[in-house]
Amino acid sequence: MLLKTDAAGGTATGAKTGKTLTHLLVKTLLHTVAASFNFRPGLKKYLKTDQGWLDFTVGIRTESGSVETAICFKNGRVSVHKAIPADCEVTLIFASDAAVRKLLGATPTEQIFMLMKSHLRTVGNQSYMNLFFFFLSLLTHKKQKKLMAGEQTASLKALQKTAPEPKTALSDELRQRNTYRMQADAIDPGVKYLADPYLSDCSLSDFPRIKEFLEVHFTKTAEVCTERPKLVTDWYKKHGFETDAGGNSWIPELRQAHAFKYLMENRAPLIRKNDLIAGTTTSKEIGVVVYPDSHGTMIWGELLTVPHRSLNPYHISRQTVDLLHTEVFPYWARRNFKEWVRDQYGSPLCQAIDERFAVYFIWKQAALSHTIPDFPKIMSRGAAGIIEEIREQLVSGNISDTRQATLEAMILCLEGLIAYGNNLARQAGAEAAAETDPNRKAELEHLAEICRQVPAYPARNLDEAVNAMWVTWVGLHMENTNAGLSLGRLDHWLQPYFEADMASLESTDARQNYIRHAIEMVACFYMRCTDHLPLTPDLTNWYFGGSSSDQAITLGGVTPDGQDAVCDMTYIFLKVTEMLSIRDPNVNARFHPGINSDAYLKRLCEVNFITAATPSMHNDVAVMTSLEEFNYAPEDLRNWSATGCVEPTLSGRHIGHTNFQMMNMVAALEMALNNGRHPLMDWKLGPDTGLVAQEDFKHFDQFFNAFCRQFRFLIEQSIEYNNMLGRAHQYIRPTPLLSSLIGDCIEKGKDVTHGGARYNSSGAACIGLADVTDSLMVIKKLVFDEKQISFAELKKAVDENFENHPALYAMATKKVPLFGSGSDEAVEMAERIAKFAHDTYGSHTNYRGGKYTAGFWSMSNHVIYGTLSGALPSGKLAGKAFTPGLTPEPNASASLLDNIRDVARLNPRNMNNNIAFNVKVVPGGGDKREAIIDRMFSYVKTYFDLGGMQMQMNVVTSETLKDAMAHPENYRNLLVRISGYNAYFVTLNSDLQKELIERAEYGV
């Protein structure tokens, strides 16, 4: 198939082949659709919005042209056309007639997989595609709901057939882990007040308020909230987006700031019943935030079915559907990142690749939010103090118009934040006045006082500091998509407030009570962070299954001046992490060998054991070594925090968009095996690098170079798209509030989207390191070194998914030393690939003037990219998942220690966007808790001593996971680590669940 990126999606050759029966079928169906909308008033009303008629055309054709037709919506009339017009908004192109017929009879999930597996592709504006799907679902949603229900019952029935009886002993074991709690055997120098830093004497039952919040979290279905999209869309309609009411071009920063201020002034100031923290991200108990300026319109086609899907369903009211369809989405159909790029750059190839799902995904189409704001600044100076600082810049002499506008925009945003705080204060006061319960009345009065102080003015105590942080957090999420925006070093930043509060207390009792209060406050904060969810179209449930918004918290490590940063608040956060055992915030812990204590590391292991999946642990020294090349100031470097999943950001000073992309490295390998053609997409995409069948590869290095060339091609395409999307952010959604909280933006008078931050970079997640390494090892050893088989034979077996090649399959999987087996050669191979990725990304500069970096972790994409790839030389079969992050293959070695040693040997300097190394350990029955924790400690400590960078453990057996798959009702809070983030196992798609079950399992 030739490359076709023409905007209208017409057949590239122009040659028309004969039309088929399928063609007639499609036309008949489209005529039915047209007639329904033309003649049924109940449907016709959907053609109109508050801005006028929805005018657009959708083309439908097959690659060969055997089907070609278009449906046109114009001025409230729907018509079917013979040919696809050149200015058609979007075209659906099917691989074949069979694919068309298959789609018509497919279940919703099957339809998603048809799209991902290239049975069809789309060319053109995706908002209109989703709008078209919405129109179709108006006709078919009842049938779709039935199909969805059918899918759900069928899969659960099949599971329960294999495991009819729940194994309650397994679920009970998990639940009872927190009943035994160890005590600390040493006290860290930074711990001033906790007698037992492990806080073993308290548990969730001491905090009825939190228990209630937790119950809501696990039982309440999230609901799509229209507050943000409605308010901002209203503002833009009135004041203009491209130009202002006077017809002058807007300076984007200023436009965003005005809209933001309007939003913050007018959104409801809500205080959750019984909460100690004021403010919410949405008007719902648990709300789904809609960002129509980023990926919001992707849900358009699913508005009617989203409550009924099996994965991650949301409530959505009929009013919400109508409002989003008629008032919000039409306004944004072209005004979003992706469509801006399509229009500005004429549907570039780099975008077309992204939209085929199998190779890479560029996150900027949804968000540029992976960073850590400067919370200490808002806590210590308040928004009013920051406004003062900005005003000083404004009067500091002659500054450009853009700089002035940028600074004024920051002020407007901070004023919006203050306005929201004031509204919360009034609300708290009003609720206090009406409250009859004296305890709650006092709490509300206290809250009113807090909100009168923060975020406008400096926080004076822990309660105010936490509230200041939360209200700011709400503001940041009103401005920026809730994807990976992260919290930073909260233990370190809150410790001064805790210490000051404790110092003011005289009696032991008062101090004991205050420690409990601090725990409760932090627990309230965690629960606040769960009040919103990202908007995920159903397809995304298979792409990023079970992910929430990944708000990373980072604990421990060293202070900016290099001292031990572990403190009372570190242990308070760990206690809360242990008690709640929830997926978000995503807790990360820094361990600095030689400075942080063993008692601290043991506590991390104990919390990991009790929660089964968190925290993720990082070697401070290795992470800092990985960042050495950037010459960051030492005090900023020591202030790094994990972002989103695992990636390092220098807190409050750095826009590192550390998850700018998910890159499937295996795609490059498949393309190298096929001279640039990607097999699943059947697309000759990359450069000619040689044909295996023609014996073009005489030496292994020739093939390795072919892989590198394909990989470089993909890297360059993805970077081009990222830079285009970066410019889309500059135009569509600069973020002045965030900019006011990132170091140097004020001094430079520059928004973060323009490189205002002190440090800039963009970080990739390269996926499939173990799979590519092992595949290259098989090629090197069997084909070139030992000459046991010809490359052509191996390629044939791979193409045939090893069917009828049992001996070759056995050799590939059993006779070649793999990464993680303790083989020097395999480690060198992995290192060689990592270095190539690092050097190639690192040779590029992003649109903000920062470097590209490479990391080796995968979120959940090792599963979907596995599904979208064929068999590999390593013996991975077609459609099977890759290993998570850079974790070795389960059969690399019988000893976990070989895995640990090999991963630790990789040079952190090639992995400056961090890694995710997953280990599944399971305690043997009857072992003492201390013994189990000692072993976990020993694995992590040794791994770090050997230079390993990051490690995350799932402490759960495959047997338990299987039971949870069949009997989800017993495991609603079973937490698992995918690759970098946490999720509830029972909310995952079945492919992800199976991948977790198949991971290697080691006794501990």
């Binding site: 001996a807 056995a810 050799m811 019988a894 220690l897 070989d898 072993r935 020993s938 040794t942």
Partner: protein, 304 residues
């Protein structure tokens, strides 16, 4: 120096002594316990193994076997009466289903392999365990190995059945071990002959002597009793063992619950699984039996 064959070096073992350990399995044992859970370690010589579930079914081996000793009709795959152990089949087997059991390794080779995990021994209080088979059948070699391990700063432990020449043990092995795991299986001599193939007289005498001198040298010697259904786990036997240990002044011992996994290993080396007529031998040990045995030991002042 009698050179042993090494069956396997297992890393990350959590059940063969304190901390995280590597276990070096020697091939060859003077006992012939009917329940032996490591049957491939009984014979001293090299053997050929076949693991059906690993086999790719490619039949490459049949083409290369000069004796035509391999057949799918044979439940053990290989006719070991005609097999000359030329291992041509093993060398060509792509899956590793056919394997050479037992390989010759020098002390230096073993040390260089296990020392890779030394960082884990250090953080966990672990080390290297010699097991088998019976390492004390190769006194000089085991001694050299232990000495080399100690020189590398590695904690050492030996698991023994107790049937050895005590003087040689004291000279070669004893100076280089930190912990001795010593099996006491049956007290009744006839039963020991019946189930383990030899008398236990020497084993018990060796234990008494070794226990006395270990106590003086602060070397930990820990007796272990495998609980084999109907053979060693009877109240009479357990009581007798507890009395014996008590008389030696022992205060700590281990009980090893029976598991039936060894039968599959028997198939691998061409031996029919034979558990007699005892259905308990096909199952994991009943936890209540373990608790009863523990109670008996504890009543005698021995902690488990």
């Amino acid at each position: 120096m009698k050179q042993p064959l090494i069956l396997e070096i297992k890393g990350n073992s959590l059940d063969d002594g304190p901390g995280i350990r590597s276990v070096v399995f020697f091939k060859g044992c003077p006992l012939a316990c009917t329940w032996c859970h490591n049957p491939e370690s009984k014979r001293m010589g090299v053997e050929i193994g076949f693991e059906a579930r690993t086999c790719a079914g490619c039949d490459t081996c049949m083409g290369v076997c000069p004796e035509k000793a391999i057949s799918r009709n044979n439940p053990f795959f290989i006719d070991r009466s005609t097999c000359t152990l030329c291992f041509q089949c093993v060398d060509t087997c792509p899956s590793g289903a056919l394997s050479r059991i037992g390989s010759s390794m020098s002390v230096a080779e073993i040390v260089s392999q296990v020392i890779r995990d030394k960082p884990f021994y250090d953080t966990s209080g672990g080390g290297v365990t010699l097991s088998g088979g019976e390492p004390a059948m190769f006194m000089d070699f085991a001694g050299e190995l232990l000495k080399a391990l100690k020189a590398a700063g590695i904690h050492t432990l030996i698991e023994t059945c107790g049937l050895f020449d005590p003087d040689r043990f004291n000279n070669c092995i004893y100076p280089w071990v930190d912990v001795i795991y010593y099996d006491i299986k049956l007290i009744d001599q006839d039963a020991h002959v019946r189930h383990c193939g030899v008398s236990n007289e020497r084993i018990l005498n060796n234990f008494k002597a070794l226990n006395t001198c270990a106590r003086d040298d602060e070397i930990s010697i820990i007796p272990r009793t495998p609980l084999i259904p109907g053979i060693t786990d009877t109240p009479e036997n357990i009581k007798s063992i507890a009395e014996f240990l008590s008389s030696c002044g022992v205060s700590e011992a281990r009980l090893l619950p029976y598991h039936p996994l060894w039968q599959e290993k028997n198939c691998k080396i061409g031996i029919s699984p034979n558990t007699g007529n005892s259905p308990e031998m096909d199952q994991w040990l009943d936890n209540r039996v373990l608790e009863n045995c523990r109670a008996i030991f504890e009543a005698a002042g021995i902690s488990i």
